[in-house]
């Protein structure tokens, strides 16, 4: 697939927020939403690699920055009670989002309501499965012990729900 141009990257990044109802809480969440769309055949062509929070796309991060530049999206930064910071993204317009692919909307809706840590773990397990890990859930626990201890079961339930959605490409069975 050819690389996306800067402007197109920005539009595709903003589209995710738009199609999720106009608001997405968290950069990690936004990255994982985009990843789920890619592996289900509903994405825009963002390439992903493994980083600290699981599947991550630098092109998407550039697209988010471009979306501010082109006034397609805004960002507010909040302080979390655990000492970190998180972002709230708002699309400048939700026009045309009614015509979005229903499976895409379903994935985005489910992901936007999910616990961000469960979503991160589910997307990580999917990524590891795609990379031919023998036991993606065990590997996810090994890589993220401080998160898996409390959230792995919830992540597995979320994964099953995501996998039930009828998508052009099925998420890996794990």
């Amino acid at each position: 697939m050819p690389a996306l141009t800067d402007r197109l990257r920005a539009e595709k990044a903003a589209d995710i927020v738009r199609h999720a109802g106009g608001k997405v809480v968290g950069k990690t969440r936004l990255q994982k939403m985009a990843y789920l769309l890619e592996i289900t055949g509903l994405g825009a062509g963002f390439p992903f690699e493994y980083r600290h929070y699981g599947p991550y796309s630098e092109e998407l991060a550039d697209g988010i920055a471009g979306a501010y530049f082109w006034d397609l999206m805004s960002e507010e930064e909040h302080t979390a009670n655990w000492g970190g910071a998180y972002s709230v993204f708002r699309a400048s317009s939700t026009a045309g989002s009614a015509r979005v692919n229903p499976a895409r909307r379903e994935i985005l809706t489910l992901a936007s309501k999910a616990n961000p840590i469960s979503l991160e773990l589910a997307a990580t397990a999917a990524f590891l499965a795609k990379e031919n890990s023998r036991d993606p859930w065990a590997e996810t626990s090994r890589r993220k012990p401080e998160k898996a201890e409390k959230y792995l079961d919830d992540a597995k339930i979320l994964y099953s729900k995501l996998r039930e959605i009828k998508t052009p490409k099925k998420m890996p069975a794990i």
């Binding site: 697939m1 050819p2 690389a3 809480v25 968290g26 950069k27 990690t28 969440r29 990255q31 390439p47 690699e49 493994y50 980083r51 600290h52 929070y53 991550y56 092109e59 991060a61 501010y68 530049f69 805004s74 960002e75 507010e76 930064e77 909040h78 302080t79 979390a80 009670n81 655990w82 000492g83 970190g84 910071a85 998180y86 972002s87 616990n115 961000p116 840590i117 979503l119 991160e120 090994r142 890589r143 993220k144 401080e146 998160k147 201890e149 409390k150 959230y151």
Partner: protein, 495 residues
């Protein structure tokens, strides 16, 4: 089995010693591999030597320095874990090896080559991917075999995901990782600049292991151990952050260095693109030249590794004879340091706005957030609003993008560049204590706090931003058009 002690002289660390033991014997064999030796042919700072002639140091020297620094950091980890009898020598050796080989996958002129990869969608232009492949398989994993059959694979895992290695991973990736501690000192030394001096010994002497909270977005996950600094190192921490910040402004983002990188990116993109489309003969390079060999199979690891700074620099003379005017011109420019002229758009706009308003003004949102922090409020909301200069730059950039599209249709005459650096490392996703410098309070058992919450100096620093245009020296018409755009945008701007 007997081992031999080895020593290397280094301009920064003086003697880097490899004691006569099993682990260092394997490390010495890693250094002898062709993949590690290749780093001698990749400069740490790419085109910076066009500005700072001394900055010709290689990633080979840097990697050895990272290993030496990592051993010092690991002593801090060992002191901490020995108290709880939790020390694991194998884990520490895996992390130390990861620190040594972390740069193996860099391509020619490192980050500029990654820009080419982004434009042409070349997956092996990403150095992380190449590093991982090299460590997992082949010559390097062979050299590490004496340390265990899964050792090389564990090293690759730590490089891909340092946090999975618990506190040992902080040596490889954290705010105080060995990579940054070496390159800050080495780049400063080799460029000759006096910006970026850090109090390394004091920092190290005050470095401890502490527990910090981690989470994703708004949700807390738990606590993990990482490096934190004792209260007496607050000023050294400020100097460290400021030093890095100034190195970005004066070295890494220097306008001439970036100008050379822009020419390189255009040149190599053109060469690879032509070759991929069957026009390799137009590039001036012979069909067996490593660049064309790579272009014909960009997913081939061996061909990717055949590329380095020396190969590119050596090919410039042939490319200057190319029948393609862009390749002929840009290769000749790079060879003779005849760079495009730079217009510092942000600086010009800043001067115009200052003349118009008397001052440019600080973003209102930033004032609010500082005030909220001073008042000790636990929650703050920072709207990413922009000041007048930011708005003028954005508006100008949009027009310049249109202009470059029009003027560059047949030849890249006008090149646009922009960038930004905050005092903290670029945040990838959720922000948290692992991305920050955490300071232990001087009293009691309180948890470490972010340096920005107690340092007025750090808290006050706005990001360094630039927006620049590069153009051929004879492009008077384009230059006039750009100046007109800048005048119009400055006139249009409101406070």
């Amino acid at each position: 089995m007997s081992y031999k002690r080895q020593r290397i002289r280094d301009p920064l660390h003086n003697l880097i010693e490899f004691p006569a033991d099993h682990f260092h014997d394997a490390i010495w064999r890693v250094i002898q591999t062709s993949h590690f030796q290749r780093l001698r042919r990749i400069k740490q700072l790419g085109f910076s030597e066009m500005v700072y002639p001394g900055a010709t140091h290689s990633r080979f020297a840097h990697s050895l320095g990272v290993f030496n620094t990592a051993r010092k950091l690991m002593e801090v980890v060992e002191r901490h874990l020995e108290r709880t009898s939790d020390w694991d020598t194998t884990q520490s050796q895996i992390a130390l090896t990861a620190a040594l080989v972390h740069d193996l996958g860099h391509g020619p002129y490192s980050h500029a080559f990654e820009d080419v990869g982004r434009r042409l969608n070349l997956s092996l232009a990403k150095h992380e991917k190449v590093t991982e492949a090299l460590v997992r398989d082949g010559e390097l994993s062979e050299a590490l075999k004496t340390l265990g059959s899964g050792f090389a694979s564990d090293v690759a895992d730590v490089i891909a995901n340092p946090s999975s290695a618990r506190i040992y991973g902080a040596v490889v990736s954290s705010q105080f990782d060995a990579d940054r501690l070496d390159y800050m000192q080495r780049d400063r030394l080799m460029t000759g600049t006096y910006h970026g001096v850090i109090d390394f010994d004091w920092l190290l002497s005050n470095l401890e292991v502490g527990r910090v909270s981690v989470g994703s977005d708004e949700e807390q996950a738990g606590e993990i151990e990482t490096f934190v600094l004792g209260a007496k190192a607050i000023h050294a921490a400020e100097t460290y952050l400021l030093g890095l910040f100034q190195l970005y402004a004066t070295v890494y983002f220097h306008k001439a260095t970036r100008g050379a990188e822009k020419l390189f990116t255009e040149l190599l993109t053109r060469v690879i693109d032509l070759s991929m489309n069957g026009d390799g003969a137009k590039t001036g390079l012979g069909e067996n030249h490593p660049i064309l060999q790579f272009a014909s199979h960009p997913d081939d690891l061996k061909r990717t590794l055949a590329l380095d700074d020396a190969v590119i620099a050596g090919g410039l003379v042939m490319m200057s004879l190319s029948t393609d005017s862009v390749i002929a011109d840009f290769s000749s420019r790079l060879r003779n340091r005849r760079l495009f002229k730079c217009i510092d758009v942000r600086e010009v706009l800043s001067q115009k706005l200052r003349a118009k308003f008397g001052k440019v003004g600080k973003p209102k949102a930033a004032k609010r957030s500082n005030a909220a922090m001073e008042a000790g409020k636990s929650t703050r909301v920072k709207m990413k609003k922009m000041d007048a200069l930011d708005r003028a730059c954005d508006s100008t950039e949009k027009r310049l993008l249109e202009f470059t599209e029009e003027v560059n249709r047949y030849f890249p005459r006008v090149l646009l560049d922009k960038g930004e650096r905050s005092i903290y490392k670029r945040i990838e996703e959720s922000k948290g204590p692992l991305n920050q410098i955490m300071i232990l309070p001087s009293s009691g058992d309180d948890l470490p706090v972010d340096v920005a919450s107690i340092s007025q100096v750090v808290n006050a620093i706005a990001p360094f931003k630039f927006l620049r245009v590069y153009l051929e020296e004879g492009e008077q018409k384009a230059k006039q058009r750009i100046e007109d755009i800048l005048d119009e945008e400055a006139k249009k701007c409101r406070l």
